[in-house]
């Protein structure tokens, strides 16, 4: 490996001078040129491990997400990566698979690697970033808040998203709207369901059918299972709000397999369906600006790395209803 010593020797200067040139400190022009020439001739690349050990801070930023197979998070990742890379940081992505133990492992590794900063979409409600912050590392929470941690946070307006989706179905004439949301310990899932409930409380003057709220996991199979269950009831609902994109996919699959269309059973999805094979107009959905979430989180992280102090900030980004040609309820009950 070619080290700073090799460059110094070739340029006929000290390693300190080489280091200064490479870090933009004041060096006389002629010597600087000598160093640059030597570095180029030797194809020198500074060793980041040594640099990190010395500086106590790496040029790496980590993004920790719970489900790398969910387009919601990969789109988010793009946003974070674009922002951070533009600032010269390399972004590494870590998938916790929703496993809090894996998450803790990643956090430990990140800390031990002297990572400059961390964007975290928490796997559970008890992520511990205290040591991170104590050691002066930047942390930004995204999509899911980190309880008891005063960190910058970028969130979707989940209650609002739940409201939009529900109202779209109501406005299309559906009167018995169920909701399939995510696990009770994921706050985004709970909030979206709360939005659903709010709208129903506001618009419905009749007693509601009980058992219309289902908690799936936030995956395709979860959506499938709950949708099958709802459709199998003696008095099935006439419409369903899908609590996230994957649940929506599962619900639509079940519909398709039963030969039903979104006109037969209304369906609105919270989240985008980039790979749905349906026209984006086919059903109402609440588009969530995931990429923008990522860029916002990335920007805040960079500010913190650059030294911004002060209490944790909170950015809440609204979803946007895309109603398209929402099929209307066939019968008004």
């Amino acid at each position: 490996m070619v080290t700073i010593y090799d460059v110094a020797a070739r340029a006929g200067v000290s390693t300190a001078t080489v280091s200064r040139v490479l870090n933009g400190l004041s060096v006389s022009a002629d010597r600087a040129q000598l160093v640059l020439d030597a570095a180029r001739e030797l194809n020198y690349t500074p060793n980041r491990v040594a640099r990190t050990l010395r500086r106590q801070l790496s040029e790496l930023v980590a993004l920790v997400i719970p489900d790398i197979e969910n387009p919601f998070f990969t789109s988010l990742a793009r946003g974070v990566a674009d922002t951070a890379q533009q600032a010269g940081y390399s972004v590494v992505l870590c998938n916790t698979d929703g496993d809090v133990d894996k998450e803790r492992q990643f956090l430990d590794v990140a800390l031990s690697e002297n990572i400059a900063g961390l964007v975290l979409a928490a796997a559970g409600p008890r992520s511990d970033v205290a040591e991170f912050r104590d050691r002066g590392r930047a942390v930004v929470a995204v999509d899911r808040p980190i309880p008891d941690a005063d960190v910058d946070t970028v969130l979707i307006d989940n209650v609002g998203a739940g409201r939009m989706a529900t109202r779209a179905l109501w406005d299309a004439g559906f009167r018995d709207v169920a909701c399939i949301t995510g696990p009770v310990d994921i706050v985004t899932a709970v909030d979206r369901a709360r939005g659903w409930q709010q709208v129903l409380d506001e618009v419905s003057d009749r007693p509601r059918v009980p058992g219309r709220l289902e908690h799936a996991d936030f995956r395709v199979d979860g959506g499938r299972a709950c949708m099958s269950h709802l459709l199998g009831l003696p008095d099935p609902p006439d419409a369903v709000v899908a609590g996230n994109n994957l649940v929506g996919v599962g619900a639509l699959q079940v519909l398709s397999e039963r030969g039903l269309s979104p006109a037969d059973v209304g369906i609105a999805v919270i989240g985008d369906l980039p790979f749905s094979a349906l026209s984006p107009d086919a059903l109402p959905f609440v588009s969530l600006p995931t990429r923008e979430m990522g860029t916002a989180a990335g920007a805040m992280l960079l500010e913190r790395i650059a030294g911004h102090a002060g209490p944790g900030r909170r950015v809440v980004i609204p979803g946007e209803l895309r109603a398209g040609e929402t099929p209307r309820a066939a019968t008004s009950a």
Copy 2:
């Protein structure tokens, strides 16, 4: 930060002894216990940066992929991550966005970070991993071979996949089968198209309609554009092979928007559609065992890290046709 010195002081031993205990070298039982107790009481975690600098090798493995928003690659990532994590390595994912410059940057960083190994799905046909290998780092190519590099390689049988998809359509009665594949400089795209061509050459006794091969980019919009173009021709084909999952999604979207179904225009997809919102039975597709590719690549990487020498091995994994209830051609031309 609590360092090895703190532990040594608390345990009343030298840092060398602490290091030995932590690395499983021979230490007397009583002193080992002292060290372990001290380490636990101080909540000591070895600094990975220092360890990496000293050992000249980190415990990190990188997976570099060209499109993190493509389920094909995220599924692959799961396979690699599962394998590597089981062996105690932390896996970091890097998205090149198909940009060879970004890829080179990531490779430089990985080298400079003393990464233990690298699984690479190359962004282009000229990835340079020579320095990596010269410096004794493990490299495995996945999905796309790395020209001029004698590395372990895990590939799909792309020609075979193209054949399967094409034959499925032919067998269903379609007689003018077009192909939308990926860019000419991505070998998987070319190979899949070659499989398509082979089958047509074998089965068709009539002159072929020219202009039936389209090169999209391997994304949804690429599939949309090419599908629109094909359907807009004065003599459109009666069926289409989609060269990858995203192209398939785009093609299906166009179909759906025009009120057509896979019975009107036959369509077979090379790759899986985990988020298509269609029943998996709705159309024929060639399932590609991406996760298994990942585990195979991860396993080979671990072997190399463990010191396995010898020439580059090559694993070719076949796709698997899932014909479901393939719609038959409405008219036999």
